[in-house]
């Protein structure tokens, strides 16, 4: 039990040091081309036909030339790319389907894209 508690303390200290050193960035997409690059890297062969960038650059929704709908959203200081079905509009935002193990997430695209 002592070793377990000592391990918990060590974890808390290391995570605290990590936070204090500033490793708590939030990624931002500079433009639509950046969103395309992120999606293309994660999904081999994906080519975007339409891109809607979030107003704050904290995500994007892309429609592929093959018709696939793809969301790019942040996870920590990295991006998560997912093919999505069932995205819906609510209160001016695009709400993505909730995944197990994750919080609900929505994108402010400044309106609903006509192609969605």
């Amino acid at each position: 039990m002592t070793l377990f508690l000592a391990s918990l303390v060590a974890i808390a200290l290391l995570v605290g040091l990590c936070w204090a050193l500033g490793f708590r960035d939030a990624p931002v997409l500079a433009d639509a081309a950046a969103a395309e690059r992120v999606a293309d890297a994660a999904l081999t062969g994906f080519r975007a036909a339409k891109v809607a960038l979030a107003a704050d650059g904290r995500g994007a929704l892309l429609k592929g030339r093959d018709g696939r709908l793809v969301a790019v959203r942040p996870v920590g200081d990295r991006w998560l790319v997912r093919e999505v079905s069932g995205a819906r509009a609510a209160a001016g935002r695009i709400v993505l389907p909730r995944e197990p193990g994750a919080r609900a997430f929505s994108l402010d695209l400044g309106g609903v894209p006509a192609w969605l």
Binding site: F4, S7, F23, V75, R78, G101
Partner: protein, 307 residues
Amino acid sequence: MAVSLPNVVALATPGFVALVALEMLLVRRSGRGAYDWRDSATSLTLGLGSTVAGLLVGGLIAAAYTAAFGFRLFDIPVAWWSGALCFVLYDLAYYWFHRTAHRVRWFWAGHVVHHSSQHYNLTTALRQTWTGALALSFVFYLPLFVLGFPPVLVLFVGGLNLVYQFWIHTELVGRLPGWVEAVMNTPSHHRVHHGSNPRYLDRNFAGVFIVWDRLFGTFEPEDDAEPVRYGLVHNLPGFNPLWAAFHEWAGIARDVARPGSWRERWQRLAGPPGWGSGDTTHAIRERWEAENNPQTERKLRTGVLAE
């Protein structure tokens, strides 16, 4: 008289903590490598949980090892030469465990945890499975006991193997001198192993000696022109350690319960990861090669390279 050998992992643990702290400081100072506090919290929690899980099921695995040792072919003493031989053979067994853990979904369900970070640093080394026993990873080492290596010696070299693999999880070390890169598993070789780029998927399974990959055709050098994208083909959507530990098991349960023939259900369980969705390593690499090599694409179109 029974021989006792030290628990090298327990002895090394304070060093692990100190080296993680040092790496954080060096990454901040040099700008080389990356950390995220949420990611590190998950990795370290999974590491602690893995130790607890090991204590819970350690008795069962010890019983399996003892039973296998009962069928031993030789009586091998604990000595420097048997230790060296055991170390090499353990690493060979590790290579085949590791390769299987990437190619068979049941085994992957245990191992995927270690690959579920989009970062590559010393905390990633500690991001370990909670379900290694369920994934049957221990069976790959049973031949060592049947050969006659004493359990205390196998556990000792297993600890050395694990400790060696800790330090190679870093972006701070570039390439090492030629002979080291030729023979040993290094940070460069292991960065490739953690890549989700099609070029790097399912490559460099070595634990200590990279020669196994060179020998069995799974070696891929790190290409400076193609930076490694760390993580999974389908990355985790958050930092919940419980979901990280069990998500692939949940996926197996969901997929096996789906309608389909028994053969299909078996493939969802024991086929390669991504079998049901068309996202196996083989399929991803073929799509990537078709995109990057038109000649390959033409061959694909004519069915010469049909899967």
